[in-house]
Amino acid sequence: MSSPSHGTLNRAPASKGLGPHTSGLGAFLKLRELPVTVALVALVIITTIANPLFLSPQGMKDLMLNATIMMLLAAGQTMVIVTRNIDLSVGSILGLVAFGTGTIFSSMPNMPIPLVLLIGIAFGAVLGAFNGLLTVWAKVPSLVITLGTLYVFRGLNNAWAGPKQHFAGDRPEAFGNLSVDTVLGMPIITLLAVIVVIILAIFMSGARQGRDLYAIGSDPEAAKLFGINVSRRVFTAFLINGSLAGLAGVLYASRFNAVGATTGSGLELDVVAAAVVGGVAIFGGSGTVIGAAIGAILLNTITSSLTALRVDKFWQQAIVGVLIITAILIDRLASLRHAKNLREKEGRNV
């Protein structure tokens, strides 16, 4: 394989180890992110026609609030998945940080909120760094490492919290109001999440370190030969993902009533599902943070719209499953077509 500049390696369905792309890629990429956006818009329109309350001010607010936490987690997860890794421990990280936030406020109710946010992010970063270190140093697939830390972190949470729960009533009102008050029609925690996602998106598409992550996911060997410090980049991806899960944990405590030992359990699969539905290739190398965030919004909107339409909620899981499979099929078809295009082009060159 020729050594492509890592600027062009970016969004290839890279598990196939494809070479440099042509200008057709732009349109092709749009095709991959388009389905999730189209699905979201169609869903909102159909639901609103059936039940106008769906887009009432309160309805809009609920939709945004519901997607906030998942958006942050899916954006972070995308960074990790792009490097051909995965972090299954995010639900447990969120739980630990959320309980930590409750604990801080119950013993120090006057702690400034920004400081609590920073502590939460730092706590998440430490847990994420632990995942990163183990993955990079031990060279064990992160699937196994983070499956382990999923239980370890959850176990710590159980040991720490026991039956203790912290309730919204114990936290300062101003903190809870972060998920009630709106700025520009958007709840504050949603605004915060959107800003973080945008920053991350710019980093992933513009910054050299961000591009490196795609290069690593596309072809780790090539990335190494090219001089990218693979270990360091992968470690950073886990660290940032942990910080985002930490931030999500603090926001969870702001929004929901109770935080305790089981807070956030089972979230990890929803997060991976959101990323996959948003067009992030599970074998790394392609997909965007924005796509994953839209995927998160879509999955949450499905839940809300099925309830608004009074559809039995047991259908919801089946629908999410169909979406995941569709997303993967679209990904597969797109990469097959891309591979075929390349072959034909090379054929002509000979």
Partner: protein, 358 residues
């Protein structure tokens, strides 16, 4: 994708890390149970036939649930006072149908004398309980019944019907006797929830005072805070004319209260059900909730422990008419179907909520 050349040191590193992770994960999983040796000396007081080295095991629906914790607190004290030498509390961290079976099996093998269980599913636990009985253990169901064939007695907080009727009464008062209401329950197959819901539906249908009240939906939040929160949200969106919500589960009512208090529906949609005073205090004070009900959960645990001891000692067998003394709570009689009632429900409001701490 991880088939690059690996040096021996790296391989060693890999192995160590995997082992460390595995060990940590195992420790985390095993952290579910606690053993508390009780005061074995006090057992003699119960009379000549009393076993002094008996072990009692509580298996709640799920550990680390605040309501369960209050029940178990009463249960542990009751067990000690009734004369059990050892009290074990084991159980799953998630309230799913089959999750209790492994715990029952393990406790049977450890030779426990009495199992006090709140069933997540009335039938899923049956065969495991049957084995426990064959091994000599007495079975007390509490909070949520198993299939009656699988236990000796069932300790019910209150008469199921009373619990249901107080909730329909409260919601009727709060919405002024007419309008649409909905129920937000725990899991779709929880025995106690479904029994109350059945009684509520019957009451709404038969009581002429409730003829203008319409039950429009039943939804399930699985006793998960976030899920219940979203279900509450969905209810209000799907039913714009909704006047009130009954949530007969502590997690559900608190999550719904949180949603109502942070939305435009605060004060417009009534909420009642079964809640813990400590969890509901802020919502009662800010006007989201006027009144809700519950029994004293600690007494439930206490009566269960005494019933277990009476069964183990052979003073009762669980047939109708059997009597036993539940310590300071006084005498309880086993009714038809092996049912034992703890006491009437209490209604909590702004005036009295500060008197309770659980």
């Amino acid at each position: 994708m991880f088939t690059q050349r690996v040096s021996p040191t790296r391989r060693f590193g890999t192995l160590t890390a995997s082992l460390a992770i595995a060990a940590l994960a195992l420790t985390a999983c095993a952290g579910g149970g606690t053993t508390e040796p009780g005061a074995s000396g006090s057992a003699g007081a119960s009379g000549g036939a009393a076993k002094t080295d008996a072990t009692i095991t509580f298996i709640p629906k799920q550990l680390n649930n605040p309501y369960t914790d209050v029940v178990l607190g009463g249960g542990k004290e009751g067990a000690k006072a009734a004369g059990f030498a050892t009290t074990n509390v084991v159980g799953p961290l998630e309230a799913s149908a089959s999750s209790q079976v492994t715990f029952i099996n393990a406790e049977t093998q450890a030779g426990t004398n009495a199992i006090v269980i709140a069933a997540n599913d009335p039938d899923a636990v049956c065969s495991a309980l049957a084995e426990a009985r064959t091994a000599g253990a007495k079975i007390v169901a509490f909070d949520s019944d198993t299939n009656p064939d699988c236990r000796d007695v069932f300790i019910s907080q209150v008469v199921a019907k009373d619990v249901a009727l107080i909730q329909t009464k409260l919601i009727a008062q709060q919405i002024g006797g007419k309008g649409e209401i909905a129920i937000l329950s725990a899991t779709a197959n929880a025995t106690n929830q479904n029994e109350w819901i059945k009684f509520m539906e019957e009451d709404l249908a038969s009581n002429p005072e409730y003829k203008d009240i319409k039950l429009v939906a039943k939804v399930y939040g699985d006793d998960d805070d976030a899920k219940s929160f979203q279900e509450a949200q969905g209810l209000l969106q799907a039913h714009p004319n909704l006047k009130g919500i009954i949530s007969p589960t502590t997690v559900g009512i608190a999550a719904t209260a949180r949603y109502l208090s942070t939305s435009e529906y605060k004060g417009k949609v009534a909420l009642t059900g079964l809640g813990l005073p400590n969890e509901m205090r802020s919502f009662v004070k800010d006007g989201t909730v006027t009144e809700f009900a519950l029994w004293d959960p600690a007494q439930l645990g206490e009566v269960s422990a005494y019933a277990a001891k009476a069964l183990v000692d052979g003073t009762i067998t669980g047939k109708a008419g059997d009597k036993f003394t539940a310590g300071a709570l006084g005498e309880r009689t086993v009714e038809d179907g092996g049912l034992v009632i703890v006491g009437p429900p209490t209604v909590f409001n702004k005036e009295n909520i500060d008197k309770y701490d659980f």
